[in-house]
Symmetry: D2
Subunit: 254 residues, 4 copies
């Protein structure tokens, strides 16, 4: 019984601060580090890689659309090949800081609109997979559990870390319950604890409609930019540990 905990990190930019990296880092095993397109800058990247290294947290690239103003959360029309090139660019940029710090990249997790589009749009998924494989076929792709992209990446021979969101409810179909649905976001830490323990020990999850379902997840996502995220991370970390689940970088969980 093993589980990875990941969080987006290094999303500050210049004088602007987002996230509580210094606190959250203690409770996670994989850091998705922004690469300067939707967030992050070279100084922030260097610092965040150093922070992760110091805490023995594995490092991944967190590429997004070139849209700092929209924080990578807006869909952007792209022409064929552009997404692959955006991702290659950002993986490489982060890899340079990893290399200078003597560590290697474990994974790639697309950000925001790019993640959501990859999860369900075949062309976007193909470009994401192409970029990751072209850079290094050993890299692990973090992707929404049960998504089209998870399936395509697995078929393409990539290692995929299936991602679950501990503070979000799921439909019986296995898909995320839309935020607009009552109960879609779980606020009660006790319930979140119960769910992650159950998920990690049994591979089961109760859907929002009350159905028990199989749900395979390799990594749990903490949303670093919500206030108090570090507390949720601490809760989840504590719950898993108390129940004998080994919390390890995803490279040791697949």
């Amino acid at each position: 019984m093993r589980m990875d905990i990941n969080c987006d990190m290094g999303e500050s930019f210049g004088s602007y601060r987002i996230g509580d990296d210094d606190r959250i880092i203690a409770f996670i095993t994989s850091a998705n580090i922004a690469c300067g397109y939707h967030a992050g800058d070279p100084q922030v990247m260097a610092k965040t890689v150093a922070l992760a290294r110091q805490h023995r947290v594995s490092i991944g690239a967190h590429p997004g659309y070139p849209d700092l103003m929209g924080y990578g959360r807006r869909n952007l029309e792209t022409f064929p090949g552009e997404i692959s090139n955006y991702i290659l660019y950002q993986i490489g940029a982060l890899a340079a800081f990893a290399r200078a710090a003597g560590v290697t990249l474990q994974h790639v997790k697309p950000h925001g609109a790019l993640y959501n589009q990859a999860a369900r749009d075949e062309r976007v998924a193909r470009e994401v997979i192409h970029a990751v494989k072209a850079y290094d076929p050993e890299l692990i792709l973090f992707m929404l559990a049960g998504s089209l992209c998870e399936e395509m990446a697995t078929s393409a021979g990539l290692r995929v870390a299936r991602e679950a969101f501990p503070d979000r409810a799921y439909l019986s179909s296995g898909q995320l319950a839309p935020r607009s649905m009552p109960g879609a976001v779980l606020d009660d830490p006790a319930r979140v604890r119960d769910r992650v323990v159950k998920l990690a020990t049994t591979g089961m999850l109760t859907s929002i409609e009350g159905k028990e379902m199989n749900f395979k997840a390799d990594t749990l996502c903490i949303h670093g930019d919500t206030p108090g995220a570090w507390k949720l991370a601490a809760e989840i970390h504590g719950a898993l540990e108390e129940n004998g689940i080994k919390i390890l970088p995803v490279d040791h969980c697949l």
Copy 2:
């Protein structure tokens, strides 16, 4: 007798075109490829790496200040460490495209204001050298022949390609004659031919004041953004070839 010919490449951006890369590529052996800060974008980088690979031209990163509006030609105040991080970021970004194309980086040549500042400012030179070594101590640094940075980089154990400008006159001190000086820029192709042949075969150059001086150069720079640059490249290439000088990527010249 060997000589490298280098040129800045991939400095287009989006719909904007600069340079005559498709023509010049035939006459050079090292391409300095812009990395998206002062010029270039992921699509242009991918395309330029492919072009260089196809012509068996060696590839280098051409990092600049984050100043697209100023084309990297303006000095920018930086705080300690920023320059190193800017350069790491850009080397890594380009290296990703090289890696995806199955080639490796040969060198790094700073661009514009960053090059000029590195040549004479100790702090800037130190940051440039630090970044190149931190990324890969085997990378070759292209630097103004006779500059402070050349000296510092050599002392630091880096391989340095000493760069000469075939269409520029030099002072007897070995420094570039300032552009404001009459005769500082050579317009006559025949004179440029004579100079590069003499430089490559004898290691001597006549200064603007008429003095014969020793001048060690490993690579000749073509300014790709001046109109007709490909013709000058062809002239220089022809002159060297006719005089039995091997034109090779700088990795084979050091």
Copy 3:
């Protein structure tokens, strides 16, 4: 019988050049000047306003999406209100250069993806109209003749200049024939001349299917970034003049 001829201008950026403004300016009566989002920068804007003023060409703002890399040609998801604010920002920026030069803005013409979306998407159209009215209800909106946005803007009390594309064929429905359709782009200058004269003198156009139809246009668009655009501008200008059509800024045509 009057007609305006407009062209996008000031789309250079930093060291990057696009368009042949110095030549085309002689043949147009309205200049759509880029405002620094999809193209243009403060230096280019100041210079382009001065050029237009010198040639007594009326000035308009040419706002686009904040996407220099995509030249404003890609759809960008926006949240309610963002488009209005993007347009206000850009109108104001250009208006400052007009004010410093002692001239006033005549019109606003959205660029690229923003223009195309405004033409057919009600929410985008509403935001465009809102921004123009909020800035100055006397400003003229340049919009695709026969589009949803033309109709909405007219209903909202804005003055609208209905725009025709002299080098493009139209369907019998009055809509532009898609570029993918054979014959959609007219290459033959003689045909373009005939069409614009007929349009200006009779208000009729022959559709790509051969049908004669009423077509009201107040301004003809020259695509400044196609090579040889100035020649087409000269042709059109000559044809209109020879046929007694007054070529005037659109403010005098409505």
Copy 4:
């Protein structure tokens, strides 16, 4: 006895938050609103203008260098005319939001490196003054009391609001004591209160060396991006009010 209190506002960008505008707005009379170059974006600008309008706080443009990554705090080399054009662009952009909200611009205050350079560098000062006059000679320029730029702007016929920093010590020369000097930054609210009351009622200030000196100031600057800035603003506001000094937009103080 009148005094204006000003603060930089609207320096958030996209998802990034800086400053405590909603709290500080209650204690100031002039808002310097960022214009999208060093900070701010169209959404933030619209919202900040609305906030100022609602609180009857006068509005000014707060232009900076085009350096979001450096928050406009780094010197940037510029070519002649660039600074004027940068400022015109930014004033115009903000003026559009003011116009849409039915208010007018009261003033211009350069930001960060641009402010500091204008204060002491003749060329920069000249370009700042030129831009403000070219846009609207009635605009008030906020500038460091006792600086070269204050003098030049006054000679040029501009109205100048002489700015004092209530939490900073001054040398007997009238210049700001450098931050590196012990005692340069005043942490004790009681001392700050005493100083501003004395300054506003007597036009005198005690220098860091203990000398009493004349010091004319029309506006007091609150640094909005320091934590707890709103408390200092409240302290100063309270102190002035209790001592019978009218706190009014600077337009009413000159």
